[in-house]
């Protein structure tokens, strides 16, 4: 029986699969159930200082092999969110708090609050591509990223994850700016749009949205490979993971752990058990005892 436990930034995970930020993670009871049903950990939806209702629906559109979303960073504000984390923590597994802001001060403030809520890690959403004034701007400004990461690292002791955007000319530059983080999370969604030709309008109320799902898997694999090769740092791979094949592909590209989001649409909550089973089968067939024997094996040159 292979050992599918994983380790990332010092966190021990019973398997490599983590729920991705923004999918089924605003309600504490949902996060708890996701962990009870197979996820090794969850990342909360991205939380800001103030309450935001987000964009009006449609906030989701189905496209070929993926979803477009523009939820608009709906969140109850950090103060209200402790209650949900408390409920989630009753699952007895790690909860990672995702935060977004547009200033260093707010980021630090949010990270400290998250730590007080007893999260096992803080994830920086530097990359949300669909809210003007937030994500995109922060995540493509290397010096701002560096300052955010540096300041937060001074203040919190739980591991810090920097989640980067694929919508940049040069992700390596941003990764280097964020190198004081304990691990990278790659990738966030790719900016896109879908138009309904009968309505003659973009489907999403925000027009632009973030593309996720298997459509972006090759982009995610590319970035995990490239960033692992150039920085050697630990990486959480995310983007289009739907099967054990996808999971192993990310691990071989250099990921130490994985996140799953959009596949919940295709497979429902059982996706975690499904993919873990397929990872296990692959390892048994290939006589691999531990996941870390596979991390980055596809990297050469």
């Amino acid at each position: 029986m292979p050992d599918i436990s994983a380790k990332i930034a010092g966190l021990e995970l019973e398997n490599p699969l983590i729920l991705a930020s923004g999918i089924l993670d605003e309600n504490g009871y949902t996060m708890r159930r996701i962990m009870e049903e197979g996820a090794a950990a969850v990342v909360t939806k991205s939380i800001g200082i103030d309450e935001r209702a987000g964009y009006r629906p449609p906030v989701i559109a189905e496209v070929d092999s993926g979803l477009l979303n523009a939820v608009g960073l709906a969140n109850p504000g950090i103060e209200s969110f402790g209650e949900e984390i408390e409920i989630a923590l009753t699952a007895g597994k790690p909860v990672i708090g995702s935060i977004f802001a547009s200033t260093v001060e707010d980021f630090v403030n949010l990270a400290e609050k998250m730590e007080k809520f007893s999260v096992s890690g803080v994830e920086l959403n530097l990359s949300c591509p669909h809210v003007e004034g937030f994500g995109t701007e922060v995540g493509s400004d290397a010096s701002l990223v560096e300052e955010i990461v540096t300041e937060i690292k001074k203040k919190i002791s739980v591991p810090l994850f920097a989640k980067l955007s694929p919508n940049v000319s040069n992700m390596l530059e941003i990764a280097k700016a964020a190198e004081r983080a304990d691990a990278y999370v790659l990738i966030n969604t790719v900016r896109g749009m879908s138009i309904d030709i009968n309505a003659r309008k973009p489907v999403l109320s925000n027009r632009y949205g973030g593309l996720s799902g298997s459509a972006i898997k090759p982009v995610g694999i590319r970035y995990v490979y490239e960033v692992k090769k150039e920085t050697g740092k630990e990486i959480v791979g995310v983007g289009g993971i739907e099967t054990g094949y996808d999971a192993i592909e990310y691990i071989m590209a250099g990921a130490s752990a994985l996140q799953i989001g959009t596949a919940l649409f295709r497979h429902g909550r059982r996706v975690f058990d499904l993919v873990n089973g397929q990872i296990n089968d692959f390892m048994a067939r290939e006589k691999v005892d531990r996941i870390d024997e596979l991390i980055g094996v596809a990297i050469s040159g």
């Binding site: 999918i23 089924l24 993670d25 605003e26 309600n27 009871y29 949902t30 708890r32 159930r33 996701i34 009870e36 939806k45 309450e51 935001r52 209702a53 987000g54 009006r56 629906p57 449609p58 906030v59 989701i60 559109a61 189905e62 979803l67 979303n69 939820v71 709906a74 969140n75 109850p76 504000g77 209200s80 969110f81 209650e83 949900e84 309904d196 009968n198 309505a199 309008k201 489907v203 109320s205 989001g261 959009t262 919940l264 649409f265 429902g268």
Partner: protein, 247 residues
């Protein structure tokens, strides 16, 4: 996004209309669609007719439902779906318990074997009560303008429920909670259709979840035992920002 033409319209009550359309798709009672009004919004709507020509029955609450109700025959109707699970068919006599537009999702269950407790604020707002024979319909109004004055539970109290093989219940969560609490422990089978904010309809956004179940995917129909175990049912829900509030 599916695009069809509205083929007919019927005014049901002062604020409620039914829109008819052709859609060649198998749909089961209790399922819903996400209706898109371009430039306005997108909202969940139960199918009020699931066989042959389909229909939705919409009450005007806010901007989106108002825009929807303003559609006329010939206009385009955009939606995606069908989503969600459905009511379990039952043999023998069944009882529908519907509050307000809750009757929309129960309407496909109307048959020669069904009776109904239909409740609304006042007589004018009673929905689909005229679809039943006289001895099969029990009206309940807040103001007593028709039938029993009070809540559906006031009516249920006076009925022998064990003669029904199934109770199907749909309406505001407070009403569902009251009906649930009354039925609990009694020897009846019952299914409840729940309503929450629904942003995505496909089990992704968490806005509709109750106790970790996504109403849009695991529901909206649950049996009485399942909802009895839900800690959030009738107690708290999340707003569109995700803030937890009392129901």
């Amino acid at each position: 996004m599916i695009c069809v033409a509205v083929t007919g319209k019927r005014e049901e009550t002062p604020l409620v209309s039914t829109l008819y359309f052709e859609w060649d798709q198998i749909v089961k009672p209790g399922q819903f669609v996400m209706v898109w009004l371009p430039d306005v919004g997108e909202i969940p709507m139960s199918l009020s007719i699931t066989e042959g020509t389909k229909a939705i029955t919409v009450k005007e609450y806010g901007p989106t439902s108002k825009a929807l109700r303003n559609l006329e025959p010939g206009d385009r109707l955009f939606f995606r779906g069908p989503y969600g699970d459905s009511f379990t068919p039952a043999e023998g006599e069944v009882l529908l318990v519907g509050g307000g537009t809750g009757m929309a999702s129960l309407r496909p269950l109307i048959s020669l074997n069904s009776s109904a407790v239909v409740s609304a604020r006042n007589e004018k707002e009673l929905l689909f009560d005229d679809e039943f024979e006289r001895e099969r319909i029990f009206r309940v109004t807040d103001d007593g303008s028709a039938g029993v004055k009070g809540t559906p539970v006031d009516q249920l109290r006076s009925m022998d429920l064990e003669r029904f093989s199934m109770l199907y219940v749909c309406g505001p969560e407070k009403m569902l909670k009251a009906v649930h609490d009354y039925l609990k422990g009694r020897n009846v089978k019952a299914e409840f259709s729940l309503e929450r904010l629904m942003k995505c309809g496909i089990g992704i956004c968490d806005s509709c979840s109750v106790d970790g179940y996504q109403l849009c995917r695991d529901g909206p129909v649950f049996d009485i035992e399942s909802i009895g175990r839900m800690r959030e049912f009738g107690v708290t829900k999340l707003t569109d920002s995700g803030r937890r509030v009392k129901i």
